[in-house]
């Protein structure tokens, strides 16, 4: 009986934590650049989604690989999806983790924080700490971040003949706007 009580209390605590406030992505632009000696490739997506939980500062952000547009030609986009990212097999890039700094979301201001978690791209998980600038205002957070991803880290193989056309390190530029969602 005691055990049941403990479980019930536990269940209650869990359910309250689920019901807590969180921020939800309302607008986002993800841009990537491959700056190689012979070719510059750029593409962007505005299809990123994600949530940030206030209680434990945990977050998840996800972007569908097929949603990237831009590129230098339609053939290049097909190469991106079929040859390199294999987006039919690995449809999303996901960053999931938590904010290291204990910030108070109730105080508006500008913060530089580190997001620690796992970045999954091309089906390969990498532990990453990514620096972000946060601008917190009432019920709204703006996130800006620029970081790089090594193709090798995610097992994305480029044929040696294209070594001068595709950069080994891809620059990612992210702008996200989150709004407070109350249950």
């Amino acid at each position: 009986m005691k055990a049941i009580l403990i479980v019930l209390i536990g269940f209650f605590q869990i359910s309250t934590s689920v019901a807590q406030d969180m921020y939800v992505v309302s607008k986002a632009i993800v841009d990537f650049t491959s700056d190689a000696p012979f070719e510059m490739i750029e593409a962007e997506s505005n299809k990123l989604t994600g949530i940030l939980k206030i209680s434990n500062r945990s977050f998840v952000f996800r972007v569908p690989i097929k949603s990237f547009e831009g590129f230098n030609s339609s053939l290049q986009k097909t190469h991106f999806n079929e040859n390199y990212m294999e987006s039919a097999k690995f449809p999303y890039a996901v960053f999931e983790g938590e904010i290291i700094e204990e910030i108070n979301f109730n105080y508006p201001g500008t913060y530089t924080i580190r997001g620690k978690g796992s970045l999954t791209t091309h089906g390969v998980k990498q532990d990453r700490i990514i620096n972000c600038d946060l601008v917190i205002s009432t019920n709204k957070i703006k996130v800006n971040s620029k970081f790089t991803v090594l193709l090798e880290d995610h097992n994305i193989k480029i044929p040696s003949v294209l070594g001068q056309k595709i950069a080994k390190e891809i620059i990612i530029d992210i702008e996200i706007e989150l709004i407070l969602k109350k249950d």
């Binding site: 055990a3 049941i4 479980v7 536990g10 269940f11 869990i14 934590s17 689920v18 939800v24 992505v25 989604t49 994600g50 949530i51 939980k53 945990s58 977050f59 998840v60 996800r62 569908p64 097929k66 230098n72 030609s73 339609s74 053939l75 986009k77 097909t78 190469h79 999806n81 079929e82 040859n83 039919a88 996901v94 999931e96 044929p159 003949v161 294209l162 056309k165 969602k181």
Partner: protein, 292 residues
């Protein structure tokens, strides 16, 4: 008591587990993946299958430059170096006005033909919110024979040089490797060489590609002439080849019994017979330029 504790632990554990991996599922419930129309892309590597076109068009502000070569028949032996002494060439440009419409021009030394066409994607293969099984592209083209008339005494009107082509490409990408295409076509030639020859010829094209690796693709193309005088006197065009995708270029190397590279030339005017060895080597080099 033991049993119930065990059950409780299982319940508790499953809860903890669900909390540990709930962020993504929470995201799914809050921002579910939108049911959008997903268009199939890259049904074929380029606008050209072998002799004929594919359902692909040049995308917006993209210029596709193609150089095509067809050598003579291999059965001519060493004197003609297995056909390599003769060559037919066509070069062409195709430019995308938007992602659905493109315009093309070309010039071939076969009958000194100039050709121009418009290609329009009428429907695109899609999944998700709207399911449509195939991509349908319409090609409307014209070609002009600019050879000097062989008989000086007769004055032919300019319209005698003009040919029209109406073709529909119905293509389906079955998966990343296999794409097939059906292409009914009507060709109208304002003037033909003899009375027996048809001015208007119908044919049905069948083509496909199979990606062996990301860079090598096997391609095949066949045009079946609908019964009639032309079908009796000429041969169906058959071509098989491989396609090499180097990133910026697409190289296509093939063997075919056709000499021409314009619809008017290779569909109703193919003389060569595969069984007699009237086949020649050919290649297309396709380069994309972007003006974005």
């Amino acid at each position: 008591m033991k049993k119930s504790t065990a059950i409780l632990f299982i319940i508790l554990f499953s809860f903890i587990n669900s909390i540990a991996q709930d962020l993504l599922s929470m995201l799914d419930s809050i921002q579910p993946v939108k049911n959008e129309i997903i268009y199939e892309e890259g049904t074929f590597k380029s606008i050209r299958l072998i002799n004929g076109y594919t359902s692909e068009t040049a995308s917006k502000k993209e210029l596709v430059f193609s150089i095509s070569h067809r050598f003579g028949d291999v059965n001519q032996g060493i004197y003609d170096f297995f056909g390599l002494d003769q060559s037919t060439i066509r070069f062409g440009f195709e430019y995308g006005l938007n992602d659905m419409i493109d315009l093309g021009i070309g010039r071939s030394n076969y009958q000194k033909l100039y050709d121009g066409f418009i290609k329009v994607k009428l429907m695109r293969q899609s999944s998700g919110k709207r399911n449509f099984p195939v991509t349908i592209t319409l090609l409307e083209g014209i070609s002009i024979n600019t050879l000097e008339w062989t008989i000086d005494e007769v004055e032919y009107p300019f319209s005698a040089r003009i040919n029209y082509i109406h073709e529909l490409f119905i293509a389906r990408k079955f998966n990343e490797k296999l794409s097939l295409q059906l292409s009914p076509v009507i060709i109208h030639r304002n003037m033909v060489e003899t009375n027996e020859n048809q001015n208007t010829v119908g044919a049905i094209g069948l083509g496909g590609r199979y990606k062996i690796t990301n860079r090598f693709t096997a391609v095949c193309e066949y045009y079946y002439l609908l019964p009639g005088n032309t079908a009796d006197n000429f041969n169906n065009s058959l071509a098989i080849g491989i396609e090499i995708d180097t990133g910026g270029h697409v190289f296509q190397i093939h063997i075919t019994n056709s000499t021409g590279m314009t619809e008017k030339a290779f569909i109703p005017e193919t003389n060569g017979k595969w069984v007699d060895g009237d086949i020649g080597l050919g290649f297309n080099i396709i380069r994309l330029f972007s003006f974005k």
